[in-house]
Amino acid sequence: MTTELIVAGFGGQGVLLFGKFLALSGLKEEKEVVWIPSYGPEMRGGTCNCTVVVSDDPIGSPIIDAPNTVVVMNKPSLTKFGPRVSSDGLLLINSSLIDTTSDRTDIKIETVPANEIALELGNGRAANMVALGAYIALTKAVKFDTVLDVIRESFAKKKEFIDLNLAAAKRGYELAS
């Protein structure tokens, strides 16, 4: 199985971390992974994104024309990356910040109110983890337990964030399951 992801949003929404946690989870499960950030002028123009590939086979091109999954955390990202989801692919929309959707009929479109849930849990900045939880439930790209382990390890030095991020990921996962 090969999961290709572009996750995009505003700078500061944690989309690079979303991608990194997916890649780290893939690595933990001994899959092939690659993570590429957008860098340069692209970073300044409103959206920040990264591409992640998780696969059972060696990864050739890390550049993906039409990824089979896209997660958009803000409206400009929907406009930019919505059209690029491959046929039969998945588009996950953060409905807290995006009040529209894609008119594509050849893909599966799901929504998650990531910011609202994160705020309910006490910190809007955990929206990326809510989306990640939902994404894992929808794609099964990696095991959810692996993601939880990665969250625990990654925040080992900032223990106060562990519980919040775990809770956020779990809520997202439950909501989309």
Binding site: V33, W35, I36, G40, G60, I63, D65
Partner: protein, 359 residues
């Protein structure tokens, strides 16, 4: 050691430390900044380690000259415009036969160009790194793991040949994160650095680190001595990789670095359509594996060169083929990375007997 997820730039920096690199001199430039940033953290933790941000790339190259001249392992990294500024120093380093490792994470040029990945410094790396009769060994990784492995080898090769060695990556290799395993390298037997300027104690000739030969016969001698080393590299250090070359194929792709891995996806995709295409990936760009490419091209009707430039390695491909096969070229540059679909479209044209698009 377990695999860790790292950016190419950071993996390469850690690999340099594992290879015994003690010093780094450089100047900030995108897209390689993670290398100096990483080493500014790590080198102070190394015994005898020194990270120094130079006032310019010009100075950095000359700091390399000083550090290599006293016999220590030293690294610099930059991108096109900075490498141009280092040209002078690298020519002196080559002339004075000093081992240094230089990383170029190529961005689009000429001039200030852009900051996105390109392969437009191929000529500079393989032919025009500075004035005078010299070359440098050029290694081109296509994965983060390979970048780390090649940097470790680069230090040994530099010491072995008393020559600068360049690791030629691009913005993609530098910025990408992939799992990497730092393998403990077997110690390579290398000649002692008796030539280093470490203080004259009367037990050897005085060490003079120098590229000045006012006597033309001596200068000629030095140039041929360097040439003999380049010939030895061509005999003993060639590296290349063949993909999908076991069976038959009408088209043989040649590509290196990031472009080669994109072409691997092309090969896999075409395989599913029943079309077999081979890939020849040179890993050493100088010396270039000419004969190995010519051999691999025997089965092909066309050799298709893909680069992130307007066609630089293409010259070496033609030199390798000696006219025995027709070549086609497809290039994107300026920071545009060719996509697998684009390349597949061109291969379909070749198979139909049509000319490919120039870009």
């Amino acid at each position: 050691m377990a695999k860790v997820l790292m950016k190419g730039n950071e993996a390469l920096a850690e690999a340099a430390i594992m290879a015994g690199c003690k010093l780094f001199f450089g100047y900030p430039i995108t897209p390689q900044n993670e290398i100096p940033e990483y080493l500014s953290r790590r080198l102070p933790q190394v015994d005898g380690g020194c990270y120094l941000q130079a006032e310019s790339e010009v100075a950095a190259a000359n700091m390399l000259y000083g550090a290599a001249g006293v016999g220590e392992r030293v690294l610099t990294s930059s991108s096109g415009p900075g490498i141009s500024l280092m040209s002078e120093g690298l020519s002196y380093i080559a002339g004075a036969q000093l081992p240094v490792v230089v990383v170029n994470m190529v961005r689009g040029g000429p001039g200030l160009g852009g900051i996105l990945p390109a392969q437009s410094d191929y000529y500079q790396a393989t032919r025009g790194l500075g004035h005078g009769d010299f070359r440098v060994l050029v290694l081109a990784p296509s994965t983060v793991q390979e970048a780390a492995d090649l940097v470790m080898d680069a230090f040994d090769l530099a010491d072995k040949y008393r020559s600068p060695v360049m690791v030629l990556g691009d913005g993609l290799i530098g910025q990408m994160m992939e799992p990497v395993e730092f393998k403990k390298k077997e110690k390579v037997e290398l000649p002692p650095k008796t030539w280093a300027a470490t203080g004259y104690k009367g037990d050897r000739e005085r060490s003079i680190i120098n590229s000045l030969y006012l006597d033309p016969l001596e200068l000629e001698e030095n140039s041929w001595r360097l040439k003999a080393r380049y010939d030895a590299m061509g005999r003993d250090e060639l590296r290349w990789e063949l993909t999908n070359c076991e069976g038959d194929y009408d088209v043989l792709i040649t590509a290196y670095g990031s472009t080669a891995r994109i072409c691997k996806t092309v090969i896999e995709t075409l395989k599913k359509q029943g079309i077999s295409v081979g890939l020849f990936r040179p890993i050493t760009l100088f010396p270039y594996p000419y004969k190995q490419l010519r051999d691999a091209a025997q089965k092909a009707k066309t050799v298709f060169c893909v680069e992130m430039s307007t066609g630089q390695m293409l010259d070496d491909v033609k030199l390798a083929l000696e006219g025995s096969r027709p070549t086609q070229f497809y290039g994107r540059t300026g920071g545009i990375i060719p996509t697998p679909d684009e390349i597949i479209g061109q291969i379909e044209k070749i198979l139909k007997g049509e000319e490919v698009d120039k870009r």
